[in-house]
Amino acid sequence: MLETQGLCHDFGGLQVLSHVHLQVKEGERHAIIGPNGAGKTTLFNIITGTYRPRKGKILFRGKDITGARPHALTRQGMGRSFQILSTLPRLTAFQNLRLAILSKRGVRFNLVRSVDRMKSIQEETEEVLRQIRLEEERDIPAAYLSHGKHRSLEVGLALATDPDLVMLDEPTSGMSRDETHHAVELIRSLTEGKTMVIIEHDMDVVFSLADRITVLHHGEVLACGTPQQIRDNPAVRDAYLGDLER
């Protein structure tokens, strides 16, 4: 589904990624873990088109997408959520999601119809709102949502375009224990049958959700394997997990 070949990137001489090979199979839930500054978000930014990599190639469904712009990737079936909330703050939860539905339906430059009167779009937006459990917050601007609800909206925006590959960057960051539990269940049910790549710090979330895990360390792939393999890997224990599980 998704493959990166020898990705390298640096910011002003600081090497952030070096020769990252990543393989995500169709239908799997793939987690990327690693200490802060390991290059996880940069990897996401490069895959989803925020930056063009210095070196290397990205393949999506076998097609070279290196350097493609985000809107092009979204149209090819990629969806992304951000670690730092990136919703449309002055628009209501409903209006936020409606834009995703408009994009999914390919309604982009329509100038002759009132969007409030497009019945099927309204209905589908209500449906997505229900799925991510924001019905009660329907008319609240995103900026005024509670943190947990705002996170849900962020993930909802990534999923509402109905992508085949979902890239989630720390979807539970800043959530309480309870909220995290609900969010994980929500992500599990909404990504059923989709391919997912998730960056996550919470090891409980990672081990309960992921089919395979890649560990990044100093911009390099330290290990890749099933949760059990990762848990047993001595190098990973040394670099990252060790101090968490002790």
Binding site: P70, T74, R75, L88, L91, Q95, V107, F109, L111
Partner: protein, 331 residues
């Protein structure tokens, strides 16, 4: 009930607007025409500023393109029908926006403001120097104003002030409705999304640059209509009247004073602007000084403009009423 009341108010307002020129005389009728022109102009700027979050310091180039196109067509092609002339003005401005859009949509914020300022000044100087066509500082004057011929109804002579007033008012209503509808369309919601967070809009699958370009062209189109009306009304199009940097600042001030957070704010802003001008010019010589002070006061103390003040007052009175009736219920 509420609907009936609204239609009643609308009908009453319409009758009042139609009778007004008979009551207030030529001078005030002409002020109302200027109000209508500036209202269209300020609304077009607010499409960019209030909805797209793009502050243009060079909107006069689109206003001027509409005005000059109208003047040139009427000078060189006498007998051109009126509505076609307005359309030519609108298209000239939209075409200018189309040419500039590849450069302008790449930037936003301060860079957009500076780039539009630069292009605005470029067209000012260009029109000043290109005397053969624009007649420089003197401007183009004395072209005939065609009559409005409506098939099946007859022709309306626009040299009668009251008639021109009706024409300008009708165009204002039409343009305001078209722009308002634009903000309700799917494209309108994409534009508001770009104002809030262009990166997210990109990630949702919309082409941000293309959408901004279309917004710029549509905004220019309506500014061109305002410019065309201006040319028809003044019968004189000069660089200082149509392309000067003050012509760019005027709709910004009007939109701000009325309230950029609302659709109809700029119409109120235009109204207040002309009211202020009319009231003060009789007693003081420095009208612009007073306008400037009002502008500063609005920016400092009422950033939402007239509409913002109204909304706040409504919310406060609503809250006050609620607490009062709540107190009444408790024994």
């Amino acid at each position: 009930m509420k609907r009936k009341l609204r239609y009643g108010a609308l009908g009453g307002g319409l009758i009042l607007a139609l009778l007004l020129p008979q009551v207030i005389g030529i001078v005030y009728t002409n002020i109302l025409v200027q109000f209508a022109i500036d209202a269209v102009y300020a609304l077009s700027l607010n499409l960019l500023l209030g909805y797209g979050g793009l502050l243009s310091f060079g909107h006069a180039m689109f206003f001027g393109a509409g005005a000059y196109a109208t003047a040139l067509v009427l000078t060189h092609l006498p007998g051109f029908p009126l509505l076609a002339v307005v359309l030519v003005g609108a298209c000239a401005a939209a075409f200018l926006a189309l040419i500039l859009s590849p450069l302008l949509v790449r930037v936003s914020g301060t860079a957009f403001a500076m780039l539009t300022l630069a292009f605005g000044q470029l067209f000012y100087v260009f029109s000043l120097k290109y005397r053969e066509v624009t007649r420089g500082e003197d401007g183009i004057a004395g072209f005939p104003t065609p009559s409005l011929s409506l098939p099946g109804i007859g022709t309306i002579d626009l040299s009668v002030p009251a008639h021109f007033y009706y024409f300008a008012l009708a165009l204002l209503a039409l343009c305001a409705w078209a722009m308002w509808f634009l903000t309700r369309t799917p494209f309108g919601s994409v534009i508001v999304g770009i104002r809030d967070n262009p990166q997210r809009i990109d990630y949702l699958g919309f082409k941000v640059a293309h959408s901004k370009a279309l917004l710029l062209i549509l905004s220019a189109l309506f500014a061109g209509i305002a410019g065309s009306l201006f040319a028809l009304f003044q019968n004189l199009v000069s660089v200082d009247g149509a392309l000067h940097v003050f012509v760019s600042f005027k709709p910004i001030m009007m939109a701000y004073i009325g309230g950029i957070g609302s659709f109809f704010g700029p119409i109120l802003g235009s109204g207040l602007f002309h009211l202020l001008e009319e009231l003060t010019s009789r007693y003081v010589r420095h009208v612009d000084l007073i306008k400037g002070v009002v502008f500063i006061l609005v920016v400092l103390f009422a950033p939402g403009g007239i509409v913002g003040v109204y909304r706040r007052a409504k919310a406060r009175i609503g809250g006050w009423m609620a607490t009062r009736s709540g107190e009444g219920k408790t024994p």
